[in-house]
Structure formats: structure tokens, C-alpha cells
Symmetry: C2
Amino acid sequence: MEHESLLMLPGPVPVPERVRMVMMRQAINHRGSEFGGIYADCVRILKPLFGTTADIFILSGSGTAAMEAAIANFGRDRKIAALVNGKFGERLYKISQRYGTAIEIGSPWGTPLNLEGLEAQLEGGAEMITLVHNETSAGIKNPAEEVGRLARKYGALFVMDGITSIGGDVVQTDAWGVDVAFVGSQKCLAAPAGLSAVAVNHRAWDCLCEKRPYYLDLASYRKSAGNMPMETPYTPAVALVLALREALLIIEEEGIAARIERHRRLSEAIRVAARAWGLPLFPVLDEKHTYSNTVTAIRYPAGIKDSEMRGRVKKMGIEIAGGQDQLKGKIFRIGSMGAVNAPEILATLAAVEHSLRKLGYLVKDNGIEAACEVLS
Amino acid sequence: MEHESLLMLPGPVPVPERVRMVMMRQAINHRGSEFGGIYADCVRILKPLFGTTADIFILSGSGTAAMEAAIANFGRDRKIAALVNGKFGERLYKISQRYGTAIEIGSPWGTPLNLEGLEAQLEGGAEMITLVHNETSAGIKNPAEEVGRLARKYGALFVMDGITSIGGDVVQTDAWGVDVAFVGSQKCLAAPAGLSAVAVNHRAWDCLCEKRPYYLDLASYRKSAGNMPMETPYTPAVALVLALREALLIIEEEGIAARIERHRRLSEAIRVAARAWGLPLFPVLDEKHTYSNTVTAIRYPAGIKDSEMRGRVKKMGIEIAGGQDQLKGKIFRIGSMGAVNAPEILATLAAVEHSLRKLGYLVKDNGIEAACEVLS
């Protein structure tokens, strides 16, 4: 077995051994009661994580497939207001362009959403809102509850990307007025990559488009999930569903509240270390926006090259993320999602601090020490 | 670990331990040289299995996702002639209806294709042909080469579903004039379910539709595959890609010709046993059509109930398939694809013959004995 880096990325994240173990199992028939029970277990445990009593379906496709399913099933030929303050907001906008009349309501990456702009579009007849709850590209958490209030006020469908928040932060799909929400397997759930889950409520079903894609046709998913045993319309990635169930059982054992608190504390340790180093966090906040609790985006000091810094950290066995697209070279990002623990955070901060020093940046203060204060 | 049935289905099929083992590995970053190399290995080994030098992409979605990718990227708003003599031909027709002007060129399930009907549609301007090479619902192998000749004669794009033939039977994508072909992971390749691979040649690229889906946008796959290291546009199911590579290495070790010969011999053993029992095979052939070499469809004798027969076989630890949709209760199907071997075939035939007897069918002759003649 090759040497594996510790992945401190905003996904994929390390997968607990217990979860990987179940994929060793021989293939089983996905049209049978055992698989139906496994699928039902997943749905049962996902509901409180989503904060919903709505339907939940597991798609054999990544979070991007779930994004497209939401828009293609409920947004075709509709006027879609896409809130964008990072890469994944932009992706929802791009997908919306392929299906409906998409309006980008943008603000610079990592800055607060333009909620006035959203309200103007809703007054102008926008029928769907897309929002990324936790924008990993910029390390900012967007005010989903606030957006939900506007959605309900104007009767627009609210599609919320919870890919990197569900399972690691507080999400209240129903209470916030979200109509369609989704999560990815390889983020806060700490399962292997390749699956996503989509929640769909009655308001969304009432808006189901007549023309829908095939593989991602959520009406087909609904029909098959109603069978006894529960099924998927097409062959699912059985090994990944088995792994997802195991990852969800671990979450159930830890408890949702404890899991969210762990994510909060570990990300706080990273933020405190960055401040000690004298490095600003990337997001620009207002009273409605907060830092992400699952990934921390930190600005590079002048003169430090991304490839050199992340290269050094990698030599110490740890992978952290750089910036994406327009943020390449400007920020680095440390993921703190999934099964992540305090020793992993400390090791990562140690490797980062050492690399900063070696590359000539005079850290203001001892970040490790500051992080220990949070973690102890 | 639960007791596992021996899956003698037309997919999913048992996955060799060596293949399942690699999924135990810790998650790796899919944006890195190691994953790029794994992806490249898969493409390299798949090309001779497809019989193509064209581009091949691995999709994180089942064979149905590959079907849709073929039609959505190259058939939108076009006139599509869908050849149908079974369930999967029908599925391609249904997907075609969602994207273009679909014309069903049907013949009863399990009977020869209506090639005269196809030629008439091509004369009438059909721009795309869809064909299932190996129609598992009926156990019939369709004359892809013949269809390819018509496609080339009329300049239509030829989309061939090789989901259950590629890796288990002779497929010559390039020589037959196929423009888009695809395979599923959990069939003849004996990898876990959840992936598919699509081959796209230059004629297809020349017809790339302007409006395309997002998750299944093959232009995005082409762009990302051109990166160094090779990438997928969205997060792939990494554990399944690792497993697919291992399954393909096993195929390379066995040799393609030897593998195809094994499939031919094992399916011949099943056919010979059915004849000995006095049970007719389901397909109605002509000089252009042959029996499938990866699944055998057998008619039930009068008075034998599908659920009882398959229930008895299952009690002996073996799962065989019934008929789908209109063929429910009329036929049973024995898969012989992937890593299947002679002992598994013999055990299956023994369980079937015993169940037939117990349910009151007087088998004409000893099917096991006849099969042994083929296998020895």
C-alpha cells in the first residue's frame, strides 16, 4: 500500500477504516430486501442531519449531480436567481443557465451575498433561488435562514447546496424554508466520494417539471423508493451505499450535536492559529455571514508561493488546499470536516507554521499554542 | 459478514476479492498525479476491450448514465432511430424521447431487429441510430456490424450499448463503424457497480450538441482528461475507479481472447443444458442474430411459477434472474459474465435442474451431463 497523505481538504476527507471495510464485501443484488434495508437506513439517519421530514434520495453521482438534479427537475424554463459569492455558487448559476433563465446575483467571492439584489429579482418574478450554504471556495457560511425567509415571502422555490455543511454544521432544511437540499458523501459525512443525497419537499414536488433528465429524474427515484423493498431506478453504486450507511451509523453514535460542536471547535482552532500568525482570514463578513465551520480560507502573506508552501506541507505528509480559479495563489484552505480530530488539526497547523517560517514569513505569534488553548 | 448468494445474474456479478480489496484503501485526492495515473490505466486497458482508438471517459454513474450521456451530447433535437427488441433497447428509446425526435423501430422482444425498418428511417433522414449489442432482457445478441454498415452508408451517428458485451464478447467499435459505445462496470468487467465508460470518436465529436447536460457533459470530460494529470470534471467515485483498474488488470492478465472464449464456452454449457432439459431458449434467431454469450434466457415450461423456481434456487445459495416487464414469469435468465467459472455454472445448472424436477417438470435429459461435455 502506498504512503497516504493526511487529507486536510474541503473534501475528499479521510474515511474511517470501519467505513472502508464494508466495501470489501461481495456484491449483492440491489433489487432485494437487504439492499432496500440499507437504503432505508441511510434515509432514516440523513433526515435529522438535513433537519427535514421530506423525501430523501441517494444518487449514484457526486454533489454536482445533485446540483443538476435540483435544477433540472424543478427549474427548467423557469426564472432562476442564483446567489454567487464563490465557485460553487457560480456552478449552480452555470447549471441554471443550461435549464432556465438564470440571473446571477453576484458579489465578490468571500464577501456577503447581495440580498437586496435577490429581493429585487424576486419582486421581478424569479421562481427559484439557488444558494450555497457553506461556500468552501471562500470559507464563508451564507445566511440560509435569511434567504429562506425571502423565498417564502415571494413564494419562490429555494434550492440549497448543503454539500459541505450537512453533517458538520447546523442545517434546518424544513425550519429555514428550504425546498430542495443536498449533500455530498465525501465531505462532512466522511464516506467515500461518489454519492450524493437530495431532499425534496412537497412544495418542490408541486413544481416538478414535465420535461426532466433521465438518470437524474427525481420522479423515478420517488417511484422506486416507494417500492417494497426500497429501490433506486437504475443500478446504484452498492459498495458506496454500504459505506455511506456505515458512515451514517458512526454519526448516529457520535450524536449530531456533538459532531457539530467538534467541527466548530476544530475550525475555531484553525482560525485562532491564523490570527496568531498575523494572517487574515479570506472572508469579509457582516452580521449575517460567518466563517465556515468546515473549511478555513487564509490569505497568503506577500511573497509566499502557493506551490512552495503546499509542497512543503505535503512533504510532511499532509495535503491542504490552495485557492480555486481566481483565488489561485492568493489563499490556502484547511479542511476540518468529517472524522477529523484534534491531533490532525495540530499536526496540520504545525506543518503550516513551519512552512511559513521556512519560506521567510515572520509569524507574529505561536499559532500552535493558540490552537491548543482552544482544543484543550 | 452475512451469507452471500452466488450472483448468477446478468449483472451485478461477483467481484474478485483482489478487486474489492483495493477499495479498503484510504481516500486519495482525485486532483493529483496518482489518481491521474489510475484513470489513464483504465483508459489504456479499456481501449482494446472496446476495439477502439477513440477517446474513452469513465463516468461516475451506471450504464444508464452512459446511455443518457451518448444521447444528450450527440442527439439533442435530432431524429433518432431506436432499434428495440428488448428492455434496454426500449430504455434507449425512452431516453431519446427526452432529447430528440425518437422513432421506435421495434420488433417483439427477443426476435430479430427490424433492419428494413431502420433503413427506411435512414432514408427518411434519421441522424442517429441506437442499438443494444447484447440485449440481456431477452438473451439475444444483435448484429452490430450490420447496423454499422447502414449507419456508415447513410452517414448517421451510431450509438451502441455494449454494457453487457464489452469485456465478455467480441466488440469492434472502430471496425463496425460505431461512433459512441459504452460499458458498465458491474457486468463483464466484474468490477463493482456504479461506473460506466464511454468511447467517443471524431465523427461524434463533429456532431457535439451545443446544449448539453452538466454532470454528463462529455465536452467537460474531454477537457479534464486532457489535463496533466488526467482528471474528471467533477469528483469521481475514487474507490470504484481504483476497483475498476484492478478488475481491468485482471482482464489484461487473462487476455481478451481467452476471456471471450471462456464466456462463450460457459454460456454454451448453459444452452446445452437447457436443450437437454427440453426447454426452449427464449430468443428467436435468424442468420444475423445469435444467442448472447453473457446471459442465457430460457422459457419456463407450463405450470412452473417463477417465484417458486427462483426461490428454490436461492435456497441453494444461488441467485438467477427472472424476466423483466412483459417477460415476468415467462422466462428465467442465467448470467455468465465477468469472473464466472465452470464450477459456478455447474452448481447453478444443478440447482436449476433439481428445482425443475421438484416443481414437477419432467426434464427430458440430464442437463448437467450435457454441460460437462462442453466444459470438460
